[in-house]
């Protein structure tokens, strides 16, 4: 193993050995350097990686702490952001950027399978967990399925909740893809991060039970607070090949 990998492991082992919990403070860099017999630079590199892993967080002027676990977003379910956050015992909230009816453009026609100029509900919000911005989501909903949806107050209402309760539209399946992007000026301001920071770029299409497109969305998601997950199961259809 490379030396950096080894140091990363040593620091993690320290956390396990001392049974440190999220929010607990690690020894100072000076102490850790002495303990592990390292120079400051090497230790910092390792801490940076552990921070990327979501194991620790550095707070300026205060030191290094065991990080709160990131919120995990299961990509195989089709529940909305707020339900997912609540399932993990977090408090979801939104900051509304806009919520308005518009006419389907060419892009929306392609994704939502609607006629050009057909009504589309466009919603852009900053999703927050425990008050911290974690993603900027822009979604386009086929408004033929939910006329009058723009009358709702999406600064606190869940889109999926409204779709289900009021319109009987149940997001049932879909597909999405994930990539890396660099946040632009608008996104940086809304998310409270620096321009050019690397973030997930998630885009996808959600269908109802009949396979009809309900919404397509694009999200810029901060990896500092959220990670994606999938759980896989082998489909039992094997044949033994001898």
């Amino acid at each position: 193993m490379g030396s950096r990998d080894r140091i990363v492991e040593q620091v993690e082992a320290y956390i396990i050995e001392h049974d440190l919990k999220p929010g607990d403070k690690l020894p100072s860099e000076r102490e850790m350097c002495a303990m592990l017999d390292l120079n400051r630079m090497t230790l910092r590199n390792a801490l940076e990686r552990l921070s990327d892993f979501g194991v620790i967080e550095s707070r300026v002027g205060q030191g290094t702490f065991v990080a709160q676990p990131k919120m995990t977003r299961d990509l195989q379910d089709t529940i909305g952001f707020s339900e997912a956050a609540r399932n993990e015992g977090r408090t979801p909230s939104y900051r509304l950027v806009y919520a308005q009816m518009c006419e389907a453009n060419k892009d929306m026609v392609k994704h939502l399978h609607v006629m050009l100029a057909s009504p589309v509900f466009a919603l852009r919000r900053v999703n927050q967990i425990d008050g911290i911005p974690v993603s900027l989501e822009t979604t386009y909903v086929n408004a033929r399925l939910c006329p009058g949806i723009d009358a709702h107050d999406f600064s606190h209402e869940s889109l999926y909740h409204v779709l289900e309760e009021e319109y009987g539209v149940i997001p049932a399946s879909g597909s999405e893809s994930i990539d890396i992007t660099r946040v632009d000026e608008t996104e940086a301001e809304l998310l409270g991060v620096r321009v050019g920071k690397a973030a997930f770029y998630q885009s996808g299409l959600i269908l109802d039970a009949e396979g009809q497109p309900v919404e397509f969305f694009r999200s810029v998601v901060l990896s500092d607070h959220l990670r994606f997950s999938t759980q896989l199961q082998r489909v039992r259809q094997e044949k033994v090949d001898e």
């Binding site: 193993m1 049932a172 973030a199 489909v235 094997e238 033994v240």
Partner: protein
């Protein structure tokens, strides 16, 4: 198959010797058998005889010839649809890519606290650590760190991982992966990994972490994979929603 006796042609006798050693496990799945030259020397036959002895076993799929590397034992394999367990489907940008793998490091070591916890074993248990570089069409795609408990795959140390995939090795030893849990994060690449992936240090990469289980619920591997962001992306299909 016809009975082979001392009266049978020598190449047939040699074939049965090799077959018997594969079946007994003396020649372990995933490892190379002695070279054709070595076999020829040991048994006082010429190389052509050895070659024809092995040909049938290659034909039967028990052995695999790899140019410039030797002849390898292939274990029993189960046919499967890779996508079933690939999860975040890693799509290589561009089509018709030729995959390649280069082992950068491998060692047998103690699990230690961190990997004991990740693999659900004791800290004094041995594990295999493999670091490798995956590529497509010769372009680097990802650097992977793989951790496997030794007692599950005892011969992993000798399996040629540029010839067989780790999944092959698991299956040879009866630990077919049936379930996996994966997460995706963004990380900043440090100089060494960045260099291996041919991107500037400090570039952002997708970190893919995967824990895979066999049918008995034992953890077969823990993998961290650093993926160059411009060469692949991930797609996933949302499952049916429970009513």
């Amino acid at each position: 198959m016809a009975e082979v006796s001392e009266k049978s042609p020598i190449y047939l006798q040699l074939r049965e010797v090799v077959r018997e050693r594969i079946e007994s496990g003396e020649y372990a799945p995933g490892t190379a058998i002695p070279s054709e030259n070595a076999l020829a020397k040991t048994y006082g036959v010429n190389r052509l005889t050895v070659r024809s002895a092995l040909d049938a076993l290659v034909e039967e799929g028990m052995l695999k010839r790899v140019q410039g590397k030797g002849v390898f034992v292939v274990g029993r394999r189960i046919e499967r649809d890779l996508d079933n367990l690939t999860g975040f489907r890693q799509s290589i940008r561009g089509s018709k890519s030729v995959p390649g793998t280069k082992v950068l490091e491998r060692e047998r070591r103690k699990a230690g606290l961190v990997f004991a916890q990740r693999l659900g074993i004791d800290e004094d248990d041995d594990i295999f650590y493999v670091k490798r570089l995956n590529s497509a069409n010769g372009e680097p795609i990802s650097v992977e760190h793989v951790y496997v408990p030794c007692d599950l795959i005892p011969n992993l140390g000798e399996v040629d991982l540029e010839v067989f995939s780790l999944y092959d090795a698991y299956e040879f030893y009866g630990h077919e992966l049936v379930r996996a849990y994966q997460t995706l994060d963004i990380v900043t690449l440090e100089a060494r990994t960045a260099r291996a992936l041919k991107v500037p240090a400090g570039s952002a990469a997708l970190l893919f972490t995967c824990t895979s289980y066999d049918a008995q619920g034992r953890i077969v591997e823990f993998v961290r994979s650093f993926n160059r962001s411009d060469s692949c992306y991930f797609t996933v299909r949302n499952g049916e929603r429970r009513a």
